[in-house]
């Protein structure tokens, strides 16, 4: 039986992306034919600006080489404009007579630049800015002519103006509104932008209405005249006053259009055999002109074309970046505000920094930034997530990177960084490398950049900076997903939140059940999703779901920390940082017996034995167990240590028995796994020698009891713990701390530290559950204790017959 035929009209980014998505999920379903009006394969239209600016070549911006079409068995008609769609006989007819029949038709005809209806608009030298041909014409004009006028001070207009200026032309931007980018910026930011572009030599004529374009002796355009009578020379006129969805073909064939091809949430037109995606589409009355929404549409359309019928497109919130090298601006959402909104503004004209955040009902609804856009992606994430910002509004304007970010030399402004500046301190990746890789490989997402460059793929502290470089390299193209919708990994479309809920609501108790129920696309997941799913299973259904060692990272499987040379480090637990001469003797003996090359005191108040061979681990643990020492879990997404000061036991300032409190907490939490590592500290007085202010749970003794702090972090990004409440008894310290950690264990996403979890849900929410709701607190505490009952030392269980095999090599004589 022959395959159904799919015809795509429009060989551009939205259409071809849909085909790519389709091939990914159902490779051999259709015979595919593509019509493209341009004589090129699919290229990255977003990068025409860098081509114009001379930073890239056409060849570099091609996304799908002709070979790709051949490999995929796609019949490609380039340079053929489709003239007619015959919906009765289901075929399309091109202007040269080529005919192709279809069973499903996908229209992705994009948009056309809007040409002002003024005299002279058809003169030679007057162009729109849309495709390779326009770009070539501009480059050619720059060689021969001097005066360029760009009509329209929007994103495209400014990028064109910048490119023409870099090619040596004298460029004037004519703009009808009061300030530039009035659809993306407020007045202050628009004027700051104008100033910095003027500093680069661009000229501006604001609030000017164009009346006519005037022909010169050569027949080419020679001047532009405005309604106020002013006239200036113009050898090249670029009209960048907006785009119009290109739906003439669809409309002529009787498909319902209304300022765009009208589609439903599955990207289907009023003809059920015809789908449409991209800039030609009107979805819920909106036509999108940025690439990120188009890619979301492509995914949905592909799914329905494949016959799976899953997924709806419900519209996009977009953010904008201007791709002019060296200028940093960002805007998103409702940045102008209105009657029912409030604004937080930071304005430093001398420093060239302006930030405005628009807030409604304690939620961020929009923002504009100029000069310092480091936190753009963070604000945009808050906006998309609809996160209540009431508890962070006092420092919201200063951004996420206000304090304690390490690993990239304090850099927070992508645009001002030199190409040679190191962005990722873990992997030694420079800004130039990232920009080049994004362009060369046509990358659109942070994940792709991580994979290709390794930047932000280790500790992740520079992820914000990399996102910013990505955004400024590809402009408005880039849109992060709402964090509760980000897929766990490439194996699934489901988010951490969805997976957690499914495991709980549908009582799933094995990874196989999760993969089957949620339709994983891989047979057994990957190194990203399997540990997450395993954690969700055992934390949601303790004693019922079985822990799967093969879903654990090596450290949690071998109960030791793998080192760069493949040896391991062994850290015995020292409850509350306390030890005895006997324990020290046992540790010293083990260090000698197993020839441990390095013995080190850790930051968590215990002793690290580094450089142990895998096959020595079980015997070493047996020796340590014999002296009463157990695993310190220094390797796990689990309870690590409870650091203590000497407290009232010895200290003349101590108000509470910090060591005793610490030991009790650590014993309570023994073998507790969590979304990420968990560290506690107990200080006996506010001098806080145990550094409780940067722990997941920090306890500070005062004369009248204990102050509890949560969600601190001393790692990649120093986060000061936030005050939770004050309690008076040791029992309450256990109950409140335990309840908080259980809440985190039940709701945190895998690899989310407490500081990220609390940032996501808000401190008010946490207090509501732990401090204000006694029943809930007690229930959480009881759940924690129930989950941890019968906890056994993994060093002991690892020596059982099945478990010990992994440590012992099989020797063969060969």
């Amino acid at each position: 039986m022959s395959k159904p035929r799919l015809v795509l009209i429009g060989n551009g980014m939205a259409g071809v992306r849909t085909v790519e998505e389709l091939l990914k999920i159902k490779p051999d379903h259709y015979d595919i034919t593509i019509f493209g009006a341009e004589p090129h394969p699919n290229y990255n239209r977003i990068l025409l600006s860098p081509v114009l600016a001379g930073e890239m070549t056409i060849q570099e911006i091609v996304l799908n080489e002709l070979d790709w079409y051949r490999e995929k068995g796609i019949k490609l008609h380039t340079g053929k404009q489709v003239a007619r769609i015959d919906r009765v006989n289901r075929k399309v007819i091109a202007d040269d007579g080529t005919e192709e029949s279809y069973d499903r038709l996908l229209i992705a005809t994009g948009s056309n630049p809007f040409i002002l209806p003024i005299p002279g608009n058809d003169l030679p030298g007057v162009i729109g800015y849309r495709d390779i041909k326009d770009t070539d014409e501009m480059i050619a004009a720059a060689r021969l002519h001097r005066h360029a006028v760009v009509i329209g001070g929007g994103l495209l207009g400014l990028e064109a103006a910048n490119g023409l200026k870099l090619r040596g032309m004298d460029v004037t931007v004519v703009h009808a509104a009061e300030w530039l980018l009035e659809r993306q910026l407020d007045e202050v930011a628009g004027k700051m932008l104008q100033k910095s572009l003027e500093d680069r030599g661009l000229k501006f004529l604001m609030q000017k209405q164009t009346e006519a374009l005037i022909q010169g002796e050569s027949g080419r355009v020679a001047a532009i005249r405005f309604k106020d009578g002013m006239q200036i020379p113009a050898d090249l006129v670029v009209m960048a006053v907006g785009i119009r969805p290109n739906y003439a073909l669809a409309e002529a064939s009787g498909i319902h259009c209304n300022r765009g091809i009208v589609v439903n949430d599955t990207m289907q037109t009023f003809d059920p055999k015809v789908y449409a995606v991209g800039e030609c589409v009107s979805h819920r009355g909106i036509a999108y002109g940025l690439v990120a929404p188009l890619f979301e549409q492509a995914k949905v359309a592909a799914n329905h074309l494949a016959g799976y019928g899953i997924g709806r497109y419900t519209g996009s919130v977009t953010s904008t970046k201007l791709k002019v090298t060296g200028i940093d601006l960002f805007s998103a959402g409702n940045f102008l505000g209105g009657k029912d909104t409030e604004e937080i503004v930071l304005n430093d004209p001398a420093g060239g920094v302006y930030k405005k955040l628009v807030i409604r009902d304690n939620k961020l609804v929009g923002g504009v930034m100029f000069g310092d856009t480091a936190d753009g992606p963070w604000y945009f994430q808050l906006l998309k997530d609809g996160r209540d910002i009431h508890d962070i509004r006092d420092h919201l304007i200063f951004g996420q990177s206000l304090v304690g970010d390490v690993g990239h030399a304090g850099n927070s402004k992508a645009a001002s960084m030199a190409d040679s500046a190191e962005v990722c301190g873990c992997n030694g990746v420079s800004k130039g490398t990232i920009v080049r890789t994004i362009k060369e490989h046509g990358l659109f997402t942070l994940d792709e950049v991580k994979k290709h460059t390794k930047a932000a793929s280790s500790c992740g502290s520079c992820a914000g900076l990399v996102e910013q470089i990505l955004a400024s390299t590809i402009g408005g193209a880039y849109t992060p997903a709402a964090s509760d919708k980000k897929p766990v990994c490439g194996c699934t479309e489901h988010s951490h939140q969805t997976v957690r809920e499914a495991i709980r609501d549908q009582h799933l108790i094995s990874k196989e059940a999760v993969f089957k129920t949620l339709g994983w696309t891989t047979p057994n997941g990957c190194d990203k999703c399997r540990p997450a799913v395993n954690y969700y299973l055992i934390s949601t259904w303790p004693h019922e779901a079985k822990d799967d060692p093969q879903s654990r990272f090596v450290n949690e499987r071998t109960h030791a920390n793998i080192q760069k040379d493949g040896t391991y480090s062994v850290v015995p637990r020292m409850w509350g940082g306390l030890t005895t001469p006997d324990e020290l003797r046992a540790i010293a003996d083990a260090a000698e017996k197993y020839k441990v090359p390095t013995v080190k005191v850790t930051g968590g108040q215990r002793i690290d034995l580094l450089g142990v061979k895998r096959e020595d681990l079980p015997a070493m643990w047996a020796d340590l167990n014999a002296a009463g020492l157990v695993s310190g879990h220094a390797y796990g997404k689990s309870i690590r240590t409870v650091k203590t000061c000497v407290g009232a036991e010895h200290c003349r300032f101590g108000t509470q028995l910090a060591m005793d409190m610490g030991v009790k907490l650590e014993k309570m939490l023994f073998d507790m796994y969590a979304p990420h590592k968990v560290k506690l500290a107990v200080s006996g007085c506010p001098r806080n020698c145990a550094e409780a202010g940067i722990k997941d749970v920090g306890i500070i003794g005062v004369e009248s009891g204990y102050e509890l702090y949560v969600a601190g972090n001393g790692g990649i990004k120093t986060e000061v713990a936030q005050f939770l409440c004050k309690v008076t008894s040791d029992e309450d310290v256990m109950e409140y701390s335990g309840a908080f950690l259980q809440l985190y264990r039940e709701e945190g996403w895998y690899l989310e530290r407490t500081c990220h979890y609390v940032e996501r849900v808000g401190m008010d929410y946490v207090k509501g559950r732990i401090v204000e709701d006694e029943d809930r607190r007690k229930a959480l505490y009881a759940s924690l204790l129930a989950a941890l009952k019968d906890a056994r030392d993994p060093w002991a269980t690892s020596r059982e017959p099945q478990a010990i095999k992994q440590f012992i090599p099989i020797t063969v004589d060969a």
Binding site: Q550, G566, R614
Partner: protein, 103 residues
């Protein structure tokens, strides 16, 4: 000419797991068993920075190195793009529930 050595029973290797084989000469060899009970053998040395692949996570026909997360194809020893590199592979077979390695 291949020289098949009996290594262990298939059940001595956990599904989605591995065992390390130590020959009297040469470096360690990692033997993997995937979800479909296929068995593969590679040098226990990631082409990136020499990490022990035997300790990585097995999924599909790949293993993820525990040190820096490179993915290596179990059947060809090739690093998965965009990473580039390869590690040596060995012939291995399962007969009657026993695993044999060609050395």
């Amino acid at each position: 000419m291949s020289n098949w050595k009996l290594i262990c029973k298939l059940d001595d290797i956990p599904q989605l797991g591995s065992r390390v084989v130590r020959p009297s000469r040469g470096g360690d060899i990692a033997i993997f068993r995937n979800g479909d009970d296929e068995v593969f053998a590679l040098h226990d040395k990631c082409p990136h920075k020499g990490g022990p692949l035997s300790q990585g996570m097995v999924h599909g026909k790949r293993v993820t190195c525990p040190l820096h997360g490179w993915n290596i194809g179990l059947d060809d020893g090739q690093a998965v793009a965009p990473d580039v590199g390869a590690c040596g592979k060995f012939e291995v077979k399962v007969e009657g529930g026993e695993v044999f390695l060609s050395v």
